[in-house]
């Protein structure tokens, strides 16, 4: 059904249209999604675009922006045998400021990788004598699942450690920080949840086009073409190029679950700093299932970025992975130094995996 979106002729045709409309003006277009970066690199889309149209990756990898101190806090719960920690596979090897979950596991802690938060709830139900803490990370795409589980009523021994983050405040932060961005490719999956309308205040406040795009090559190039066309014609609107999955109002069931369980709070983004209103804290009504309250662990703030790691600049789109002196030398996916090299959504990991193709 969707193979047409990879049709090379169509993709090339769309890319040549980008070149035509962009003329000689320089463009800097940012996306904020690990899957977009994967698609752009995997399908060699940067090579198809004219040299004056640059597409840079922003902070779209949730694992990469989770503060080191939060990883430490959860790793410690496992290492001290206070709880079984469940999380997604990508999180395991990310270095905290002091430790990683993989290290906590090697030290005898009970750390389990789950595919879904529902699996974690089931485990907690099956082993009522143990405490379970689900390290709940991710953007608006992942938060509704944890919210739904808390609403359904998990067993007493289950709680979540929320490191959830909201994407629009980060986009606003980037536009306000003078990063020289001409427009955003908005994250497709986050957008299925928050809806196209969510970007409208930002597009009008900063006068930048924001275009929602899917993940197939034709989707991404169409998004870029839309932004370029808007810029040259002086428009700055929210456009939805991913209409097969994203509606203006988003997913109201998922949004309802998020706002029932979480309230916005300031949140620290590793390598970037604190972004106002970009976090999701468990509301008081669900305190019993909030690991931060239940186990007295906080862990905000301290990012603990490894020495010499340029992830901060990579996450802000200021530096390409190849610009980091450690890239491919001291830092590789097998022996990662920084968080961007660990997660399969990390910009450095993606760049490393596909660098031979480049």
């Amino acid at each position: 059904m969707f193979v047409g979106f990879r049709d090379r002729d169509l993709v090339r045709r769309a890319a040549s249209e980008v070149a035509k409309r962009a003329g000689s003006r320089g463009f800097r277009i940012m996306h904020v999604c690990g899957t977009h970066e994967w698609s752009i690199t995997h399908f060699g889309l940067r090579e198809m675009l004219p040299a004056n149209v640059k597409v840079v990756a922003g902070p779209g990898c949730p694992v990469c922006v989770t503060p080191g101190a939060e990883i430490d806090a959860v790793a410690e719960l496992a290492a001290r045998r206070k709880a079984v920690v469940t999380t997604f596979g990508d999180v395991l090897r990310v270095p905290g400021a002091r430790s990683s979950l993989a290290e906590a596991k090697a030290a005898g802690g009970d750390v389990r990788v789950v595919y879904s938060v529902s699996d974690a709830v089931q485990m907690a139900r099956a082993e009522p004598e143990k405490e379970f803490v689900h390290f709940s990370i991710g953007f608006e795409t992942t938060a509704p699942m944890s919210a739904v589980e808390l609403i359904k009523g998990p067993p007493k021994n289950f709680s979540i450690y929320s490191s959830h983050k909201l994407i629009p405040p980060a986009m606003e932060f980037l536009l306000g920080s003078g990063a020289g961005i001409d427009g955003f490719i908005c994250p497709g999956h986050v957008s299925t949840i928050i809806g196209a309308r969510a970007y409208e205040p930002i597009a009008s406040k900063y006068g930048k086009p924001m275009v929602i795009s899917g993940f197939e090559p034709l989707d991404v190039i169409s998004g870029i073409l839309n932004i370029v066309t808007q810029v040259v014609s002086g428009r700055a609107a929210v456009d939805n190029e991913y209409t097969r999955a994203v509606r203006a109002e988003g997913n109201e069931i998922a949004m309802g679950a998020i706002s029932k369980v979480f309230e916005p709070c300031d949140s620290f983004w590793r390598g970037i700093g604190t972004i106002r209103g970009s976090g999701m804290r468990v509301r008081g009504t669900y305190r019993e299932h909030d690991a931060r309250a239940r186990h007295g662990v906080e862990g905000g703030g301290d990012e603990g970025m490894p020495e010499g790691c340029g992830c901060g600049d990579v996450l802000l789109g200021r530096m390409e992975p190849e610009g980091c002196p450690l890239f491919g030398k001291a830092c590789t996916p097998a022996r990662p130094v920084g968080p961007c090299m660990v997660s399969s959504e990390g910009t450095c990991a993606i760049a490393f995996k596909y660098r031979k193709v480049r």
Partner: protein
């Protein structure tokens, strides 16, 4: 499994809040608790993220976008 990845899955069977879906030839269970279930039919596609369907995929929309591009290309080749 990347945290933010969602993949299209074809609905094979709906059973209340759960569905059996096929993702790239592999069958899996997925929760339908985050989407509107009314009108959802077997054979339709949904986006699956960490075991939950998060959006229905509109095949008509997908087809019309492809058609537009194909027409542009065909028109140019005819020139």
């Amino acid at each position: 499994m990347p945290v933010c990845l969602a993949v299209p899955g074809k609905i094979i069977r709906i059973d209340g809040e759960m569905a059996e879906v096929e993702i790239g030839g592999i069958r899996r269970e997925a929760s339908l608790s985050l989407i509107q279930r009314e009108g959802l039919k077997e054979g339709e596609y949904v986006l699956i993220h960490t075991g939950f369907a998060i959006a229905k995929i509109d095949e008509g929309e997908a087809r019309s976008i492809l058609e537009t591009w194909r027409e542009i290309l065909a028109a140019e080749r005819a020139d």
